[in-house]
């Protein structure tokens, strides 16, 4: 192809050409707002978080304890059977030390974030959350952690009702 084609289409622009208006552009901000019905499973999940509890659903078909909870088992394709509480302790399955915020801006104090598999649920059933009370050198896969809950009056029914997961201490769990 390189022998048959000599010019590859595309005119490159730099950021400045757009910012200084050298290239005509049209700006638009879409009016796009949504409010998703949480539905049965997530509504209960959030209500329980507000109470300082983690809840899961059982499936008698595959005998798994599903977390986050869902009203149908995606493996068996049948309705799940019962609500069951799980622990607020778990194990770090993976993590990242991020120097980027949500808009890709650099931050100096890194965010520690990762996936925690929750005790009481089936293996590997996890949730993403922040890690706290540990340094970036201390965080590791396999660490045992526990949720640090916000005070009851500050909880609103959100995953942020947990501030972060912190190292499990002696005698806990």
């Amino acid at each position: 192809m390189t022998s048959r084609i000599s010019k590859w289409p595309g005119v490159e622009l730099g950021r400045k050409e757009i910012e200084t208006g050298k290239v005509t552009s049209v700006r638009y901000r879409p009016d796009a707002k949504f409010a998703w019905s949480a539905g049965e499973a997530m509504s209960r999940f959030l209500a329980e978080l507000q109470e300082g509890r983690m809840i899961a659903r059982t499936c008698n078909g595959c005998e798994r304890i599903l977390f986050p909870p869902r009203m149908f088992c995606e493996e068996c394709f049948r309705p799940t059977d019962a609500w069951v509480y799980v622990r607020d302790t778990g194990t770090i399955e993976t993590y990242s030390i991020s120097y980027l915020d949500t808009d890709a801006r650099r931050i100096t104090e890194p965010i520690l974030v990762g996936v925690v598999s929750i005790d009481g649920a089936s293996p590997k059933m996890g949730v993403m959350h922040y890690f706290g009370e540990m340094t970036k050198d201390e965080v590791r896969i396999g660490m045992r952690v526990k949720a640090k809950w916000k005070p009851k009056e500050e909880r609103v029914g959100s995953v942020l009702d947990i501030e972060y997961f912190r190292p499990l201490r002696e005698g806990e769990g």
Binding site: M1, T2, S3, R4, I5, W8, P9, G10, V11, E12, L13, G14, R15, I18, V23, R27, Y28, P30, W36, A38, M42, F45, L46, L66, F67, P68, R70, E74, E93, T94, Y95, S96, I97, S98, Y99, L100, D101, T102, D103, A104, P110, V113, G114, V115, K124, M125, G126, V127, M128, H129, Y130, K136, I141, S158, V159, L160
Partner: protein
């Protein structure tokens, strides 16, 4: 089953910002592919369009908007969308348009104009997360790659050096690609390993850039290839496969892409391949991050679990190695306009198999190749095997 061949391909430059509108980019790529194939738009029975999040270009129902630039106006026009998997998947959709007998000639056009999104296309990735479980944590896209990379490295005890080596290989390979955005013939391992940490373990030079670009391929049935004497520049589609895993990504162990393995199995079965490493000559796996090339080589069954890094270390995956991987330069070197990576996956396979890759041509004879794309939330794999 009706045989289908790729008979022409085209692509635009991949750049962080291109002046052309999305429609113009689609047109340029489509026009080039048609010219290369010796086909006119009136001969095209169906147009398949692939483009990833509408939010990048900033138009709802983006497929509709791009229909005219893609050659789809007043035609059978179909948009398919599997996130990052679209680069290979739209060609699979093109394949079934022809394999089914409903089209003799199909044009597949993929486009992406990420630069439209202000202040930065990254912001769009805020909206790919679950609104209740993930979004409140204000995640950055790089986080999931970082978490997957960490899991992969930790489970298999893979040194970061083995991963960084992929970035070096691909950015150097890209020096031979006329459309490349991030080619660097002189990049070293130290450059990559010392680049700034974005979200550990991911560093800046581990990541492919956002890009504008478009690519297109022309597909034709066996009869058309024969009647129009296209055999010389035809590469046959031998197998297609795709697979999606659960939305609940926090319930999965990310160290191995099982969904890629299943997609590959589906494609290999159709292609009658039971020993991929032996029966396939080269591969274009999806490499939006360097570790993904290794992750996907293992998913494709081309390396044992945890062992793909050795292949790079030993030079096996260089263009002149035993098993070239990403001879195009991949997303790491050429750029990542999501769906338009069609040009460096399907397109590269086509050009390599028909001896048209110019400076990037693999010196050993290649008769069978596999390409793969990956998308959604660490979730979707699309695979195509092509051969001559």
């Amino acid at each position: 089953m009706r045989k289908v061949a790729v008979v022409g391909a085209g692509m635009t430059l991949f750049r962080r910002r291109l002046q052309e509108t999305g429609k113009e980019l689609a047109f340029e790529a489509a026009r080039m592919a048609l010219d290369q194939a010796g086909i006119e738009i009136n001969d095209v029975d169906a147009v398949i369009h692939g483009t990833a999040p509408d939010a990048f270009d900033g138009v709802h129902m983006k497929g509709e908007y791009l229909a005219d630039g893609s050659g789809g106006a007043r035609k059978r026009y179909m948009r398919v969308f599997t996130g990052g998997g679209t680069g290979v998947f739209s060609a699979i959709a093109g394949w079934w348009h022809v394999a089914s007998g409903l089209a003799d000639v199909a044009l597949v056009v993929n486009e992406e104009k990420m630069s439209s999104c202000q202040p930065h296309p990254q912001s769009v990735f805020a909206y790919i997360w679950d609104p209740i479980l993930d979004r409140p944590l204000k995640p950055n896209l790089v986080w999931i790659f970082a978490m997957e990379m960490n899991r992969y490295m930790t489970v298999h005890k893979i040194p970061y050096e083995d991963i960084a080596r992929v970035a070096v290989k691909n950015k150097r390979n890209a020096a031979g690609h006329p459309c490349a955005q991030l080619a660097d013939a002189n990049i070293t391992l130290d450059d990559v390993m010392n680049s700034e940490i974005m979200a550990w373990p991911v560093r800046r030079l581990d990541i492919s850039p956002p890009s504008d670009g478009a690519a297109a391929v022309v597909l034709a049935s066996e009869d058309v290839v024969r009647k129009r004497k296209m055999k010389e520049h035809a590469a046959w589609i031998r197998g297609v496969g795709w697979c999606i895993d659960s939305t609940m990504w926090t319930d999965r162990d990310l160290y191995f892409p099982e969904y890629v393995a299943r997609a590959a199995k589906m494609a290999y079965r159709q292609a009658k391949i039971d020993d991929p490493r032996k029966q396939i000559d080269f591969a274009e796996p999806y490499d939006p991050f360097d570790y993904k090339e290794l992750h996907h080589l293992e998913g494709l069954g081309l390396a044992d679990k945890g062992k793909a890094g050795l292949m790079t270390r030993e030079g096996v995956t260089e263009r002149d190695g035993d098993f070239p991987v990403c001879p195009s330069g991949g997303l790491m070197g050429v750029g990542n306009p999501i769906a338009a990576t069609l040009g460096i996956k399907i397109g590269e396979l086509y050009w390599q198999l028909t001896g048209q890759s110019g400076k990037r041509q693999i010196p050993n004879e290649v008769r069978t190749g596999v390409c793969q794309a990956w998308g959604d939330l660490m979730q979707f794999g699309s695979v195509m095997v092509m051969g001559t």
